[in-house]
Symmetry: C2
Amino acid sequence: MLADTSAIDAGELRIDGARLLRRLDELAEIGAIEGTQGCSRLALTDEDAAGRALLATWMRDLGLTVIVDAIGNTVGVLGSDSVQGAVLTGSHIDTVATGGRFDGNLGVLAGLEVLETVIDHGVRPGRPLAVGFFTNEEGARFAPDMLGSLVYAGGLQIERALQSVAIDGAVLGDELDRIGWRGAAPVPGIAPHAFVECHIEQGPVLEAEGITIGAVTGVQGISWTKLTLTGQSNHAGTTPMSHRRDAGYVAVRIAGFVRDVVDEIGPPQVGTVGRIELYPNLVNVVAARATLTVDVRNTDDAVLTDVEGRIAEFAAGAAAGEGVELATEVLARFVPVAFDPAVIDLVEHVAEQLGHTTMRLPAGAGHDAQMLARICPAGMVFVPSVDGISHNPAEHTDPADIEAGVNVLLHAMLRLAEVGRVEERAP
Amino acid sequence: MLADTSAIDAGELRIDGARLLRRLDELAEIGAIEGTQGCSRLALTDEDAAGRALLATWMRDLGLTVIVDAIGNTVGVLGSDSVQGAVLTGSHIDTVATGGRFDGNLGVLAGLEVLETVIDHGVRPGRPLAVGFFTNEEGARFAPDMLGSLVYAGGLQIERALQSVAIDGAVLGDELDRIGWRGAAPVPGIAPHAFVECHIEQGPVLEAEGITIGAVTGVQGISWTKLTLTGQSNHAGTTPMSHRRDAGYVAVRIAGFVRDVVDEIGPPQVGTVGRIELYPNLVNVVAARATLTVDVRNTDDAVLTDVEGRIAEFAAGAAAGEGVELATEVLARFVPVAFDPAVIDLVEHVAEQLGHTTMRLPAGAGHDAQMLARICPAGMVFVPSVDGISHNPAEHTDPADIEAGVNVLLHAMLRLAEVGRVEERAP
């Protein structure tokens, strides 16, 4: 059924790290943030279109069958004209406005490098191999985040996804047409045999522990809420404190409470108020309106639900105490995801076989793999982030760690492609 | 020396309330905020220029000598070609971006109405009477607030004032030239005999107490500070709380503390954080930078200084605790002003003579009168603000209260104009 994968399993086949780094550099030139190593390539912008074109060219140069679906997700398949039965890898190439060059991009180019390595060495796996990139993973331009992979997995109707309105007012379907990336393949997409994604950790754990490879156990549950407070604008000098209905004051109390409750619960609970806006936002005017977002995450959905409830209760009380009206909008809510135990075992096993240090850890951020986990066995390979920095132009991962991670991806994919069921290959 | 002011003192002379309201309506049409009673007439904009032109026309129609100084302050004098020895009234016609129609405008049009009443009845006071409007009182476009009257009183060099940069990037001197209101009269200006300003209270005290006329005892000290916090942007899902340098978190803690310290001290201390900005201001990114403004005011300068110190100490501690850098910029600092005791007595006495309820109270906001108080005996007449609302299109004062206040201004100015020294007429 296979050519010489037993020899490969012994550890001889390796990716070309320099070639991968060259592709990372070339892709990072599109939307490069001047004077930094970072990238600004928001979903479905002209920069995203240029990145997509480059990826499609590379896929075709390798002889892959390129499939674009109705939401712009793009997959290149080796050894078939369909994802049916394939071992799929991939990630996303959209970035946040002040992003790095590795987040998402590494996972897509890692997959391309795995496929090129397989082709170069004349390896013929028992299953098709495929690499894809999914539309609007970051959620920095359109909501929700992980939109493309969510549509692929059948978790969001294409009609609703196409109507998503960007922070700049554009409609997703219009933007998809404008850049010419509304494809013919139907969604939901075909469930692959398995899905493995290589990604930077975006956190400090692997670096702090001195570990090269993370076998990702799952993804935290994510809750995003937007709170809008409506009080009354008034003069900051002449209005006694007892007469105020200060929307800004209630906003800062809620934001402070988010940290209080997170500290009380302790790790792995995290909570962030990343966005606050006051109106009219003047030094000497009591704010009439305030908006803030609350981002809370936990691997335990029961704890996360409790945290949401406590914040909602505090917000209601703080607003009532100041005579301010409170409106709440859920922007995103994803329950925690547990990856396939056999895929987690496989990543850990391959890492050990290749001589790398490894540990299991949950992902703090959302990833396309968590959406694919709805329709097939899925898992992830993490590599360390220097200083844990991500969503920042200073985001960095050492070349040696990148090479290690993509070699783990290569061998994990080959193992998955060798046999009919993942479980049969678990150690 | 006078015509028949003793008869007038007995209470017979009255302003024409309907004429004053017509002028308030006409001026409010310039920069009107559609669908509201409010005005948007930022200093030295085209709207301000149109308002100035209307005022100058009205002054000339009454036969006043119109004097424009080097910062655009404009005074109309009755019975002289100079402010020398005159009893001056006035205020400002610039507004905040979402302003009402009474703040400032009432004081200028009240003065015009007083002079027209005096002219109509053939009264010949022993001193010139004058009405003026001062440039950029609000501070909503250029800093500092009360800029024109501060220059008039010699508290700010004209060269520095002309270089003030607007929130929209324009330079004050350029804007003054553009709208044609850089006048020939030198600054600092001539000290008048006395200054009395009629103004809406902009707070809820008179209404709550059921009082028509406020005899203003002075103006609170004002302290405006801008705090800039610099931390590190990072991923909201993958960064453990212990690794964060969240500038937004420190900002909300400082803003919350401002209310804590104000509540602990109690009235008349007030404190406001009206402006907060985060960067990059995204739901899932820990804020790298945050700015906030702190506006604290008190009639007692020692208490105000103590409050400033406590906030500064808290801010430094909160920033250090989060590993965030703190930079502080003083935007404005005015010590409390006590008005002339004889002018306060006079306002109270005239209000009683005219049959109005009256009380003494400090002003919560800054006013041009506090700058004129540096160079002559000064005071203010307050009328009630409905629901205490100001700096808001819904700002309102009942016509009967306006008429009462301007009649008090009329008789206070006549008393001041009768005699050589204010003190001689105090009850």
